[in-house]
Symmetry: C3
Subunit: 153 residues, 3 copies
């Protein structure tokens, strides 16, 4: 099954890629890799959740936000890769979680991104990951996700 | 116009590359990429600003500091790439902003780095970027910038 | 001397690679590079230190923890590279330090990782590095280390 068919089966569609805000762009291809910018949990141009995880945003809501940010990252990567079905595998996922010092369940939040990617890409969706806690994130987002993908030859 | 000529036109010069402090080095080439270490807003061996953005350092001063850190990163990358004019394009920029939980304008600070890189490299300066908030940074720097560049064949 | 022999000379052994916790894996090869997931200072499945550097964990203990996390990262990279002696060089090290705003000696902590890597790999162990302060880290770890290595052809 193609990744596009799988996305449809999951009841999802690829969102439009956010326009570059400044001198930076959503994704860039370099050799057979595409690297994305850090993506926020935006839907229709609005954050779906705001604040720090465990304070204003529950870990469950943050996990969903991480999945949405990962979806936006896939959209950006697909655009630079020449289409969703041209993504061969997910290489690396960086997950930044806005959280206070007392919060230690970053992995559970980051799993929102990781599980979505494995659902969509199957075995090819298995990736390395760094999940860390941030004092704050742009626009007061609870989570930011960047991905590196491999492009089909 | 060469990048060197453009730098001169901008009224700037490439600073000397900071000596490796320890086991790590300012930049490393791998294939046709050069990756730099995280660079601080140092001038003549001194930080030009110290503290957290919006507390001890204004966002405007932090934006300037981000541009300076980016200049230092370009100097490090140029050294490993065989010269400034041997940099083909800017691939990725990581911007770490030291800021309290209440601060959410990381993008405006990071634009200091991004806008400088686009000024210097033009279209080839467009890059992907991740900007996040940190609880603290080395030496109490307000910002740290790392870049990945593509080297001319 | 092979890296394996050097590790023995240092009185160390490569720990078993932690099993993938979720959809993510300890390390992934892409071309001639291997990238690891963020690694914690785990020994026999337990964190050797917990808390923020300068509060619950001393900088000295955090430096040791950074070396242990780097050892775990080398184990993960070796597994994906086809063996420890198949690692050609260390390219990049990311060090995330859990610390309060008042802490500014991230470099000293990160040197635990950098010095270990240079001891083990010699000249080939010299790498670029980004060290930053985090509000919190997974499982309340004081430090998290990710590495990118070059694999022998």
């Amino acid at each position: 099954m193609s990744t596009t068919a799988k996305l449809t089966e999951l009841g999802m569609t690829l969102p439009p890629v956010a326009k570059p805000i400044a001198a930076y762009i959503p994704a860039k291809r370099i050799g057979n890799l595409v690297i994305t910018s850090g993506q926020l949990p935006m839907r229709n141009g609005e954050l779906t959740a705001k604040g720090r995880v465990s304070i204003e945003v529950t870990p469950e809501a943050a996990k969903e936000a991480a999945a949405l940010a990962a979806l936006n990252a896939v959209a950006a990567a697909a655009d630079a890769a020449g289409g969703l079905d041209n993504i061969a595998s997910i290489v690396r996922v960086g997950v930044f979680v806005s959280a206070p010092p007392e919060f230690h369940a970053h992995s559970a939040v980051a799993n929102g991104a990781s599980e979505f990617l494995q659902q969509l890409f199957g075995e090819a969706g298995r990736h390395v990951r760094a999940a860390v806690g941030c004092a704050s994130l742009p626009l007061n987002a609870p989570v930011e996700v960047e991905i590196t993908v491999e492009v089909k030859a």
